[in-house]
């Protein structure tokens, strides 16, 4: 029986939350809640980085370290902005979703190429 693709589903949710976060910066008069933004900032960037490690983690371990890595990335972006300009200039709601998309994209490409390699091996075997 095929395993339910939890990781892929979480990646999609993170990507959607990232999109939502970017949309909240839109100048259009939208009354959007910041709750999904908070959820994204807490888990999104960290989860996308941990996916790249290609290690198997338990759900609790994944959740806790996602928060840890997300906070580190958030602070890093703020600190780089401060050091280079003296003020907070890098828009967090744009930079962090973009970083998350890049990491998730890299993970997707790598996973797909690995699956293709396995497929070729199985076919040739």
């Amino acid at each position: 029986m095929r395993r339910f693709p939890v990781a892929e589903l979480v990646s999609i949710v993170i990507a959607l939350l990232g999109l939502y976060t970017m949309v909240t910066t839109s100048p259009l008069p939208l009354s959007l809640s910041d709750l999904p933004v908070i959820i994204f900032l807490l888990f999104g960037p960290g989860y996308s980085v941990l996916r790249l490690f290609s290690e198997s983690y338990g759900p609790l371990q994944m959740a806790l370290f996602s928060v840890f890595v997300s906070l580190a990335l958030l602070l890093g972006v703020v600190a780089v902005g401060h050091v280079t300009t003296g003020i907070l200039i890098l828009p967090i709601r744009i930079v962090l979703p973009v970083l998350a998309f890049i990491f998730l994209g890299l993970d997707y490409i790598r996973t797909r190429s690995r699956k293709e390699r396995i497929g070729v091996l199985l076919t040739s075997g």
Partner: protein, 729 residues
Amino acid sequence: MRTKLESYKAALILFIFLPILLSGTTIPHTSAQSSPSRNGTSTVQVSIVGTIDPSYDVFDLNLPLLVNISIHSTSAPLATNQTILFVLSFVPNSAGAIVHFANGSSTPTVILASSGVGGSSKAFQFNLPAGSTGFDANIQGIQFGAALLFRDAIRMPTFGIENFQNATVSQNTTIVTRPGNLITESFDFVGHSTPLPSIVQKGASNVTFSVPSGVYFIVMQSHLFFPASVAVTLVAAIFLILLALGLFARSRKVFDPLWNRFVGVLSSLRPLASKMSIQDKVRQPHRASLARTMLIMFITCAILMIAIAAIAGPDPQTKVYVIATPSQANLIHKNLLPIRSNLQMITPAQDFSDFAVMSSVGDFNIAVISSFPTVNLPEVSYFVLPNLGNVPVIVVDNTSDPLFATQVSALYTNRVIHVANAANLSSSDVRRISIALNAATGQKNPFGVQIGGTSFKLVVVIEAGFSFLLVFLGWSALGLYAAEANNENSLQRLALMIALGVFVFYFSETTYVLTSSLLRFPLSLHAVISGAKSITAVGYLGFGGGSTPRLLAGAVGILFGSFIGGWNSRFSKRGFGIMIAIIVLIIANPFLLGQLAFQGILLYAGGMTIGTAYSSALTFKQFLYTIGSGVGGNVSPVYLMSAGKILAFAGLVPLAFLNKMPKITASFTVLFCAIAVGVGGIRVGEMTPTKTVIAVVPGLMSGLIFALILLLIALLEKYLVSSRVVSVQ
């Protein structure tokens, strides 16, 4: 009507701005700098001559620069007596002045040390009597520079004059040295590059450089330095190329058995390993037990330090902190001798910025506040006043600054004893101080053990040695755990590194605080003024505050542990060879990169803040502080941030990802972490646990950012290795 209103407005504007417009043209001509000569007030000509015999040692923080300052002043006859203050960057060996009068007569006068205030400047004063028309003064002394990596860095001697109204000061500075020495770099007060001093006189035995105004640091080197460094750079470059081509493969056959034998000897030190069951030995790699042994040795060392301090402490000497002029302080010391014969006096000249730490470990039994120059009082008061509550007895006399005395009396009412003059105590004063001192608790050994001053010094020296061993063992254990073979995932390793690293730092700091408190003598201090050797335990070993050896103990500990733990599996020998060659290339080359490396090492090892390295360090600090601010740093002065402590915790995190790194990146990561932990680990000796509390989380966050960057480099190495661009075997 409208025209009339506008004309009123114009008149009003003219009325308001006319004085400003007029003053704009007159202010420069009536400034304090230009008027004295025209009004017949004072002019002061200062000639500073620094003579240096460069040493060009690998490392020496006591490079002497002989300073001779000649001051010539002329003025209109003074109407009243005037006390002039000279502020110098060094303590003079000799100082004297001759005062001239209008009738042509001259009188020699004495220049008195006004404060002997610690820090960078020292104040000296002398009196100009009414009717005098000028003076000639001469001050001689020694200022110390630093020799590092065959270059000498020298801080220019500075001279300032205060309390001399309307004086126009002109100053010229020259440096005299032997021929064959060059000044290759110069910097201003904040570390920016300035025009180089030029040669104004060249003789057979010496060369004189004229130092432009604004130059605060210079770097000297021999004329042989450039060709020699080019030669070393070339050798390193050739070595690097040969190494990259794999031409040293045969040398490993000789080197590897030697290393394995060394590791074998260390492994025989593992008492616990021999007691493990066969199943345990199979289950766990043998390195793990060595890491555990190292951790046990670390804890044992800590307990041993605390036990020795508990049994041998406290310091049999009574310590008195005296805020007074040097002459007054000596008299105060003599007056207190009838109370306690075994009395050690400490003054702000030795250290005032560490007063909080010194007093918090019970270093001082009495504080005496007497006459002290008002000009130097604020910087001393800033550090001392909030922490006087740690001193059981505070003596304040009538010659002290009234405002400061009032503040002290108001804050510490129950501890203050008022006397007329601390330098001339009455029998009643002596009795009151004696009673208060005897009433103070915790002055005696709880086990009834008493040792003399000489034995206590021996104990203190042993504790100082252990303090470095403690740092080394703690970080070695961490290095071993980081590099040992394991099958945990990165997050499990990260949790282990955080738990172990935070424990090692905290337990080291706890041991430092506890040992210092039991001895009533600080093991070390963070910013102790150079040359103050008898106020810390490590000072008795000749290390002042002990920062540089603590840095080395920490960095070598991480490297030692990591190499022992993972030399054969984790790291690339060729990678290390390449890195060492690159480090030599960076440090030895005489060009911009070499200069930057020199500045960077001087910043941490010599405490001199020059050039781009200094500004880069400030930017890096700003980066750490911003991260710290995001997670609770600097909310209040209690939880003040320390960039050093943040860096120490940041250095732990990349070690958790060694499993995911190919060999060259792993080797580089270990070097990076050793430097970060070493530099940050200095702060264990600062003994400020509140700063540690607020540094842990920002440190881990920063460390994670560094780890992600290093993992990106690891990806690059993996790609290059898989593309067969580089080989790491």
